[in-house]
């Protein structure tokens, strides 16, 4: 039990003290998982669309609609249900800023 409590505190401390750099790393690595299907740096020349340079609000709306199934999807609904809204918004910021 003591061990559990300690590790819980550990996570809390990380969340509280995490620098902008650590949060950036989480989003940068999570966004990089998208490159497998959506192309390196989010740039795709194939049937799965690219994400780089898309409008930020469009990306947020598209991802959240997939989460609530208001939009027809394939694997994307399965992905979006695994991400928090904060992660979705941060990933939209990330891809919108890729030139």
């Amino acid at each position: 039990m003591k061990k559990k409590v300690m590790s819980f505190i550990g996570i809390g401390l990380y969340a509280v003290t995490a620098t902008a750099g650590a949060a950036d790393t989480h989003i940068r690595v999570t966004a990089a998982t998208c490159y497998i299907c959506h192309g390196p740096n989010g740039k795709s020349e194939h049937a799965i669309p690219g994400l780089a340079g898309q409008d930020r609000n469009y990306l947020v709306q598209a991802m959240k609609e997939q989460k609530t199934a208001a939009r027809e999807t394939t694997v994307m609904r399965k992905y979006m249900l695994g991400y928090t809204d904060a992660e979705i918004e941060a990933m939209a910021d990330f891809f919108a800023s890729v030139k």
Partner: protein
């Protein structure tokens, strides 16, 4: 021969490459205190190549050496399409030319024979020695052929192959199917999980059936499955078999192959002997022998490598990370997952070498497409989040396999091939 830093810079054109990488790929990297730190990555498959690339992208001050035995990349994904005759074996073969040039990676084609973990050095067959601060092992899997009586001799005669490592075996199995008479029997014997690409044998049955339907319609496929049911995408595969290939594929679960006799072309399970004109036996797998030699293949069965899920650092030897199919984990073993593990490991190594704490709760996305014909495919997708309390990746709600295949997902499957190859090799 020991290669020092000056020699490394001279050989790799490191200065120029580092400048280029700095201009192009490292936009988001934090100021680095890791200048001169050395990472050696062993194995340039979907895990190792990606890990080497992203360490350089995320901190171009780190020197990365990538050691790979083969001089060209051969893709296991899409190899079933070659077996089904809808792609050629040449399309699986890719060049390693761009990766080291684009990212300032020193690429060495040699075989690693050992690691001196105390002195932090990697030793190769040619007698070279590479110093590291962090080592990444991504050597893939070996096949436990010793568990199937007669397998090794059958394969040495060119009669039976697993074709679960792409290349000459893929071409051999395709040739065997081409030579098979109409009305012949193709036996696929597959192992229970865990292993590489658990949906592979079922996709292979689809691809072979697609070929038979056009050219040898009286032929039959018998699947001897070591598992109690179709391991992955079961409803989708069963529906596709019924719809596209009625009566052609017979799936026999709980039937682990234990023996093969190439003189009578018979596969035996515990329960039955099955004769085939073409026999494809996929043995059980384990992390590559190198992992055992190094001392990181330390699970209770000596099959897989236990790691810290946040950094992929071995729990047995500090400073050595293991990624890809070799890892002991509840996460599927696939190219897609290896790519994701590689990026998590790369980010953790960049943080560790810069004196920062790695992200304690990274996310892995797992996607796999399987083709069911030359124009249909279906996906599975799962998001898993690392829980440092439970020391395990926890499956997030909403994931799973699609129950049906369609043309849209075939187009996406093709895009997935192109984009994962580009992410791995450019």
């Amino acid at each position: 021969m020991t290669i020092d830093r000056r020699e490394f810079l001279r050989r790799s054109g490191f200065g120029l490459a580092a400048t280029l990488a700095g201009l192009s790929g490292a936009r988001a990297a934090a100021p680095s205190s890791a200048r001169g730190a050395r990472v050696v990555v062993v194995g340039a498959g979907f895990g190792g190549a990606v890990c080497a690339k992203y360490i350089r992208m995320w901190d171009p001050n780190i020197e990365v050496t990538l050691i790979e035995a083969n001089d060209r990349f051969v893709s296991c994904p899409m190899s079933n399409w070659v077996i089904g005759g809808i792609r050629s074996v040449d399309e699986l073969v890719k060049s390693y030319d761009q990766l080291p040039r684009n990212h300032g990676i020193r690429m060495v084609h040699d075989t690693v024979v050992g690691v001196d973990a105390d002195k932090r050095r990697v030793l190769t067959r040619r007698g070279d020695s590479y110093a590291y601060d962090r080592l990444v092992l991504a050597p893939g899997i070996d096949f436990m052929t010793e568990l199937i009586e007669g397998y090794d001799v059958a394969e040495s005669h060119g009669k039976v192959t697993h074709a679960f490592r792409a290349g000459p075996r893929t071409a051999l199995l395709r040739k065997q199917l081409e030579a098979m008479p109409d009305g012949g029997v193709f036996v696929i014997a597959s192992p229970p999980p865990p292993g590489r690409c658990v949906s592979g044998p079922y996709e292979r049955a689809c691809m072979a059936a697609h070929y038979f339907k056009q050219h040898k319609p009286r032929s039959k496929i018998i699947m001897l499955d070591g598992h109690f049911d179709v391991v992955s995408k079961g409803p989708m595969f069963k529906a596709a078999w019924k719809k596209f290939y009625p009566g052609m594929i017979e799936h026999r679960p709980n039937n682990l192959a234990v023996k093969v006799d190439h003189t009578t072309m018979t596969v035996s399970s515990e329960f039955e002997d099955v004769k085939g004109d073409v026999i494809n036996v996929v043995p059980m797998m384990r992390a590559a022998k190198l992992c055992d030699t190094v001392g990181v293949r330390t699970d209770s069965q000596n099959r897989w490598c236990p790691v810290d899920g946040a950094t992929f650092e071995s729990t047995a030897i500090p400073g050595i990370h293991v990624i890809g199919d070799s890892v002991l984990s509840n996460i599927p073993k696939s190219a897609h997952v290896s790519n994701n593990q590689a990026k998590i490991c790369a980010a953790a190594i960049v943080d560790l070498l810069n004196g920062r704490e790695p992200n304690p709760a990274p996310i892995i996305g797992s996607t796999s497409y399987s083709a069911t014909s030359d124009h249909t495919a279906g996906p599975i997708a799962v998001v898993m989040r690392y829980d440092p309390k439970q020391k395990s990746y926890i499956r997030q709600p909403g994931g799973g396999a699609s129950p049906e295949c369609d043309e849209l997902n075939f187009a996406y499957n093709l895009a997935w091939f192109e984009n994962i190859w580009a992410d791995t090799l450019t």
